[in-house]
Assembly symmetry: C2
Homo-oligomer: 288 residues x 2
């Protein structure tokens, strides 16, 4: 059986790592990126460089989108020369971007109307995980669609978690980011508490890192917050967006997220202070 | 040089584990416990069973208290037949209980007046860590006093962290518990969010445990919260007390802990619901 041809839409930091791992694993790959300059290195690695999302999808068995948000996802699938206008009957479509549940549900309906299957499969992990094929995919969709996706997702990941029907991946990502956002704010408040006291700062942080609250997030963010290193890994304004949206979704399910409300009071202040485009470690400056 | 004789005041779950490790390491040990029945097994292991804190301290070079709170600590040091009334000149006194900064400072002055040295050295870790000699000591006091304490603390611990002057151990414990308390509430809210959704609960929790927010605390509490297992490791009302006190101390240092305020709104509700004497995992029932 010939290998499935896979189209990758979006060659940002994450999509580029994913496309490289697909090529390395021997899949025939089409790539598309809005800024064509990013596609060139992939041509050298044997990918077919498509001129539009539609062109990329036209001969692909599986199409994966990895773009920045709902708007970019809508453009790549439904826009002018969008992938859905050229997709093969029976193709499997995967969106690995971080999207809202409502857009994912709309997209799944559009895929169905085009005769394609769809799963949402956002990821946890950063640039390094994407490059190393160590992402974690959070999947919403049918068992059958996920089975088709597995050979492709496997070469990019350390794990694939099936969470429920279409939209479940998006919802899980949101809950994960909510818990992370609150942990980040509690860490920032704890750090400022430590800094304003007579405690030895580095020893005190070490207690947090090596003790019960020492999550990978706490261990990664703590040293950067302490150094006021705001080099961007994840925009502060995007974390605010996720916390806001998590609170709304939870409200729909009858749950109040008191800690999200508290965290948001700091994110609002940080954005008012002009720090929205810094890394979300800059939340440490919003503690008063 | 003869081994220092060590008095252990308080043979609860934590103190008993500590005394056992001192005996195992070959220290001559005196033990005192309010309920004398708990002392008997230590006599069989070679400890001298004292009739009062004063008696326990009378021939000890180092006296360690491990009791439940400020009130019990005050009783054991300053009460009727209290240890300070019998302490040897130049002895080193250590309180490993979880105490308020203000009581620790008062106790340090009383120790000085009795001609003794003092450090506060509360611990992180639970029963199992105490039994295995794997506690982490959070120390406040002078370098010289800590140097004297090290041979004794070492046999009970995986680490000793010096955080600053007297009271610093108590303050660090409070900050640690604040961060843990907030993480627990965010986890409880996330769990209820998951439970009210169509997400596969166990897969969703696994994402939190193995991902960025997966602290030892989250991994330990999550399964117990999910199972509504409220077997007591740490009373809910004590976590509420620590969060309240952390917020007060932070306020004195000019810092507002917004996430503590949010967490406390759930702890207050849990206590109003009659859950104060359950484990603090019962906070999951306070999510609305």
């Amino acid at each position: 059986m010939a290998q499935s041809r896979v189209a990758v839409l979006g060659l940002g930091i994450m999509g580029a790592g994913m496309a490289n791992n697909l090529l390395r694993a021997g899949f025939p790959v089409n790539v598309y990126n809005r800024d064509a300059a990013k596609s060139a290195p992939f041509a050298a690695s044997g990918a077919r460089v498509a001129t539009s999302p539609r062109d990329a999808a036209s001969d692909a068995d599986i199409v994966i989108s990895m773009v920045s948000d709902d708007r970019a996802s809508r453009a790549v699938w439904l826009g002018d020369e969008g992938a859905l206008s050229g997709v093969k009957k029976g193709a499997l479509l995967i969106d690995s971007s971080t999207l809202t549940v409502s857009w994912v549900e709309e997209l799944a309906k559009a895929a169905q109307a085009a005769g394609a299957e769809f799963i949402d499969a956002p990821v946890t992990g950063s640039r390094d995980h994407a490059a190393a094929g160590q992402l974690l995919f959070l999947v919403g969709g049918s068992d059958a669609a996920l089975e088709r996706a597995k050979p492709v997702l496997s070469v990019m990941s350390r794990g694939i978690v099936h969470l429920g029907p279409v939209g479940s991946g998006a919802l899980m990502k949101l809950i994960n980011n909510f818990v992370c956002g609150v942990q980040a704010v509690a860490l920032a408040e704890g750090l400022r508490f430590i800094e304003n006291s007579t405690l030895d700062r580095d020893n005190a942080l070490e207690v947090l890192y090596t003790g019960a609250p020492g999550s990978p997030l706490v261990k990664t963010l703590g040293p950067r917050m302490a150094a006021r290193d705001f080099q961007t890994f994840f925009f502060l304004r995007l974390m605010k967006k996720d916390l806001t949206y998590a609170r709304e979704e939870a409200g729909r399910l009858g749950i109040t997220l008191e800690t999200a409300t508290a965290a948001l009071s700091l994110f609002d202040r940080a954005i008012a202070d002009g720090n929205g485009d810094k890394d979300f470690t800059a939340i440490v400056e919003a503690v008063r």
